[in-house]
Amino acid sequence: MRSREENEAFAGLLRRSLSEEGPRAGCLDPELLAAYFDRSLAASEAERCDVHLSRCARCRQGLATLARAGQSREAPAPQQESARPWLLDWRWLTAAAAVVAVATVWAIGRPESSTKVAAPANAPLVAMTRQTQQATSPAKVEPEKPARVMARDKLSRAKSALPGPEAAPGETGGGAAKSFAPRADGPPADETATRAFEKFPPETPAGSGGGSGAVGGAVAGSAAAEPKVESSGAVRAGESQTDAQLSAAPQAVPVGPRTKQRETIAPQSQPTPGAAGPAATRASAYQAIEAAAAGQTLEQRTSETVIDTPNPSVKWRISKAGFVERTEDGGATWFGEEVDENGSLLAASAPDQKTCWAVGRQGAVYVTKDARTWRKTTAPTDADLVAVAARNESLAMVTAADGRRFLTRDGGKKWKPLGSSPDSNHP
């Protein structure tokens, strides 16, 4: 049997080899990527996508990112998660059906049952079904509405901030319900197909990246994207659309043992609270919807600490969400990662362009010397660290919330207490 180290070495080898594959010609455009993810491609098309994805790291990374974004969206609250599975669990259904069948036979077989029950013939069956449900329902199940109804209600409350809907002329309820019926899973029937890979349209800056170079456009977009209209939205259609989408949304699946590992790349999404508050104007209604979806106030979302470096174009930024980002263009675009999963960074110091020290709660200290790889050092104390001053990648001093200061000369491996600062509130 191979040793654990051998297996780890082999895993690392595979990881690096498979990560090195550059993008291939004919990368999947967003349409194809999305259709592949939704499994709505024909079998032959899906197979060609498999071939491309097996060789193209770029498309694979896009698909993986898409999967994680979808996973965070679909992860329901615990009570919602438990409500659906047990109800559709075949074991419960089988047991319930068996109990109902036995009870029915018993009820029919007993002469007294016909005199006690004055309801129609199926009433004992219904009564026994209810009793069976109550007897077998798990204790943790809460009698709530199905997940999709709850989500639909949330959306309805959010949209109620908009002007009230008007009846849609010519719209039939039956047709709407039918049209928004959920799609069947699985690809359509196989058909003669041609290679449909296409590059993203050249005039659309797909390759320019989401953040870089688009700040101006984003600002303009935010300002201009609010349509100045007074007419209503289509609430009925929206509700049906939501039903279709939610019912078609795949169930949350149990996450494997690598969940924690991936939290660094796909942080958990914020829970979506319920209704947006009432808004007199459309602008405030949109803001309320956005804030409600974000799950936090705008002030909290945008609070950041910017750290300068000797190069005025290069800055660092830490957020309360535990992210550390870096800009090379004076703040136009930022790139970074989640350094602290607990979101507890409080201060940072950047002695040069590539070195940065970040400190936070419970003695958390992180340092990078190449602007890419972050390393968590030993904690000088369990107290919250509220300030840091660094000379280089090895020499730094941190200040705890209680005023104590600690010095390291070896990049955080060992810390030496220096005593309290003169003003514990302002180290």
Partner: protein, 313 residues
Amino acid sequence: MKSPEATTQIVPLETAHRLLDRAAAPGEWNLSAEQFQAALERSVRSRFTESPGNSSSVASYLAALHLSDLALACACSAGDPCAWDFFVAQYRPELFRAARAIAGEANARELADSLYAELYGLRESGGVRASLLDYFHGRSKLATWLRAILAQRHVDALRRARRTESLDDRGDTECAAAAVERGKSSPASIDPERLRHLAILQAILQTTLDALSPRDRLRLAYYYAEGLTLAEIGKLTGEHEATVSRKLERTRRGLRAEIDRALRARKLSDAQVELCYEIARDEWPFDLTAHLEAPEPTPAKADGNGFQVSEVD
């Protein structure tokens, strides 16, 4: 609003009428059958790019489209304010939520806003407002398509900014850091004989990986390169989590056995084989052959700010 394109009719108008009824677009979106017909034709042309499909394949294709999403995209692209209201109410929160999940809290707004602006259509092409929604053809859900754009843009931005190995988990990077501290820091410190062993290992590994079926290779890449969980892989491949685990293990075992066999065919001892894996894990260079050809280690390419340029760019 944009006028429908004048094209050779692949989709008859009556078909467009029927499909528009199925889509049940609200009347206040003011989406005409002609506009929807144009959208359907764009969709069919994007699907059958090289050769026109026969009528039955086109009909099957149209029947499988997400018509309601396509109608919404078409109406929004045409600039209908009611449709846009609906889109904002339903999809903007989803857009920001996906952007947060993809790019993190700090970058989410920037990522989502830039896409949002393009969806609304702030650019003009030939005097006509160009909206990104023109490129939605209904082959997937609109929400999935939006997330796919965000995901691709985010990945492209990361690939430009840093090397792809930054997407590896931190544990692997820490192992490399530990190896660096042990003194095995750079290919320059490896003697040529060890370099040749690594080159052999790389070649054998590449050959063995190439021999895998696309599905097996993809499953392996999802797990090792992208770090997806078994459940996430199962959702992508349409397999149960247990099936993914079983097939991964089978592929990995077969791969390892084949590599070991090939190494031993080159007369490497057990200890040498183990050493190959250990060195490769700790300090795998991007292009080992370059190190073999040049006597001195070649420094990685870097842009003016010190970031390494990805091989893509």
